[in-house]
């Protein structure tokens, strides 16, 4: 039954309501399987009816394009319809079905390949491009045959993304303006999908066992109750829209806190900064009145590509953020690749325990040539505002000394070339129990500490944050973790360092008072949490 409301329950990782169409995120290709069939006539009928449906969709697209972009540009959808009526095309598909006794999907895919090859072999560059048109129309037919996408298909509208799981390299490549919500089958509350959803301020669900064939369907994500509704009826839609409006009202209330100080009723102050994962997040940080950038994850420059980013590319990204923050502090964390964040060209190899493996500062110290490129880019950007550098995964004083030596070399090189750079504070992430235990020694070497609670919790509790089966054992308020934070703050202050928290725990408003009592100087949270943390501070 197409119109029946379907309800799937999962676990919410970010509250909110999203209403829109579903888009299934497919990994890679090889979606079409070759299957043997016995009734060729029936298969040909399937093909022809899918072809008709595809033509109707294209007709709709043509009409839509005609209104929006004019006849000349709309014409391509007309040509696509003709392609589906082309006798050579139809004969080829039918012939493959009949002679090889295979499923229609496979026959269409083969035909698409053959015709695309024909165009690809033409000398004319313009005609070469037409191979994409053949693939496009064929994929539409295959989609219909597989029961994906019904009704009008417009891949460009913002959608609810459904996927088995999303790797960091996949999410970084997504056009964020087209994402209303994430719903995944797997993943854990600490996975990157969850963190990304929080940064983007959109509802997200994990552990949802949704059915296949939902692509293109109308749906609602209820991030308050962890429910995905497919084909919602009118009543449900109305109710959810009301809830969405209420959310907006609450958001406005929070916005009234914009421009206000982060101060408790008894006069204690704290800095609230934002965590960002790329240049495009700066807007959200500013909109939510962050006092600075407490964690600028530089991985986005390295993920989702085939080779190292150049110094120039990095410099431009850092400089853009620094300039946009207009003098406010920007803390750039040097690359934290490895573990769950993989980039093939690093050739990290397979590891038994990647979380305990070759990652972050360990890569930088053993391959200083990679590290130096990033440091040069950061130092160059420091001439345009207030920049601090923070190093991840530190476990020893020796590492910090080696880092400082390399940083000095970079500064000397820049000075010799007459390239300007500013005063740059040096800090380290405290995210290993080792760093906590020697924080008194480390404090003598650096200007600040930033506690990465996600990894610190993972290493302290020996719980893999990617393993969803461990969620019930994972206690983010574990006394061991809180004691470690306290120890870090005390030792940091004794050694003249300011101490911040940049993990997810920083946004946990049930702990805000605890952190202020401990003497934490800064909390860096996802941009969307800045104002709610401010609210919590002002109520203490």
């Amino acid at each position: 039954m197409e119109t029946e409301v379907k309800k799937y329950v999962g676990k919410s990782v970010y509250k909110g309501i999203a209403i829109g169409r579903i888009r299934i995120y497919e990994k890679g290709d090889s979606r079409v399987k070759r299957e043997h069939i016995s009734d060729a006539l029936k298969e040909t009928d399937r093909f022809n009816s899918a072809r008709e449906t595809a033509k109707e969709q294209l007709k709709e697209l043509y009409e839509k394009a005609l209104k929006e972009v004019g006849q000349a540009s709309a014409m391509i959808f007309d040509v696509h319809q003709m392609m589906l009526d082309d006798l050579d095309y139809i004969e080829s598909v039918t012939h493959i079905i009949e002679s090889q006794k295979v499923n229609a999907e496979y026959a269409v895919a083969c035909t698409a390949d053959n015709f695309a090859d024909m165009f690809g072999a033409m000398e004319d560059d313009y005609m070469k491009e037409r191979a994409a048109d053949v693939k496009d129309v064929s994929n539409r037919v295959i989609g219909i045959l597989q029961g994906r996408s019904e009704g009008s298909v417009s891949g460009d509208e913002p959608s609810i993304i459904l996927a088995d799981d999303l790797a960091p390299s996949e999410t970084v490549q997504m056009d964020k303006s087209k994402v209303l919500s994430f719903v995944t089958r797997y993943g854990s509350t600490n996975s990157h999908t969850a963190i990304l959803a929080r940064t983007m301020n959109i509802p997200a669900l994990i552990n949802v066992d949704f059915d296949d064939g939902l692509d293109g369907k109308q749906a609602i994500v209820d991030g308050y109750n962890g429910i995905l509704y497919v084909n919602p009826d009118k009543e449900l839609l109305e109710a959810m829209k009301k809830k969405q409006e209420q959310d907006e009202k609450n958001k406005k209330l929070l916005h009234e806190l914009k421009g206000k100080e982060n101060i408790t009723t008894d006069g204690r102050k704290i800095n609230i900064y934002a965590n960002i994962g790329g240049v495009s997040d700066v807007a959200a940080a500013l909109k939510n009145d962050a006092g600075g950038i407490g964690l600028f994850r530089s991985e986005f420059l390295y993920l989702g590509r085939d080779d190292f980013p150049s110094e120039e590319e990095q410099f431009n990204a850092y400089r853009t953020v620094v300039e946009n923050m207009a003098g406010k502090k920007v803390i750039i964390r040097t690359l934290d690749i490895g573990a769950d964040k993989q980039a093939d060209y690093f050739n990290l190899g397979n590891e038994e325990n990647p979380a305990l493996g070759y990652r972050a500062i360990r890569i930088c110290l053993s391959q200083p040539e990679i590290f130096k490129v990033q440091l040069r880019a950061i130092y160059r950007a420091s001439a345009y505002g207030t920049v601090s550098i923070m190093y991840p995964m530190i476990i020893s004083v020796d590492e910090v000394k080696r880092i400082k030596k390399i940083a000095e070399e970079v500064k000397t090189e820049l000075s010799n070339l007459g390239i300007p750079y500013g005063e740059v504070e040096q800090g380290i992430m405290i995210e290993t129990p080792a760093a906590v235990m020697i924080s008194d020694e480390l404090a003598k070497e650096v200007d600040f500490f930033s506690i990465g609670t996600n990894d610190l919790t993972q290493y302290t509790l020996a719980i893999d944050r990617q393993n969803q089966r461990l969620d019930e054992f994972y206690d983010s308020h574990h006394p061991a973790v809180l004691k470690m934070i306290q120890m870090t703050v005390e030792n940091g202050h004794k050694g003249g360092c300011w101490v911040g928290i940049c993990g997810e725990l920083g946004a946990d408003t049930t702990l805000t008072k605890t952190f202020i009592d401990m003497g934490v100087d800064e909390l860096s949270v996802s941009p969307s949490f800045v104002l709610s943390v401010r609210k919590a501070v002002r109520e203490i």
């Binding site: 392609m83 082309d86 050579d88 053949v134």
Partner: protein
Amino acid sequence: MKEFKYIIRDPEGIHARPAGLLVKKANEYTSTVTLSVNGKEADAKRIFAVMGLGAKKDMELSVKIEGEDEEVAAQSIKSFLEENL
């Protein structure tokens, strides 16, 4: 059978849009319409074949029309080419 030749003036040749229009035009008639360029032949009612000709500016296009309505078809296709290509 009617036959005529036409030299393509459109700077982009028979690209997707005019190819589509030409196929539509040819389909208005029952006659078979065959196009040839540089020794390559194509049924004008089949879009992939027409696009596959790769006909570009300054090339000579031969048009062969055979069937009951060949008179009208030839007239109409000729003026179509003059207007669009």
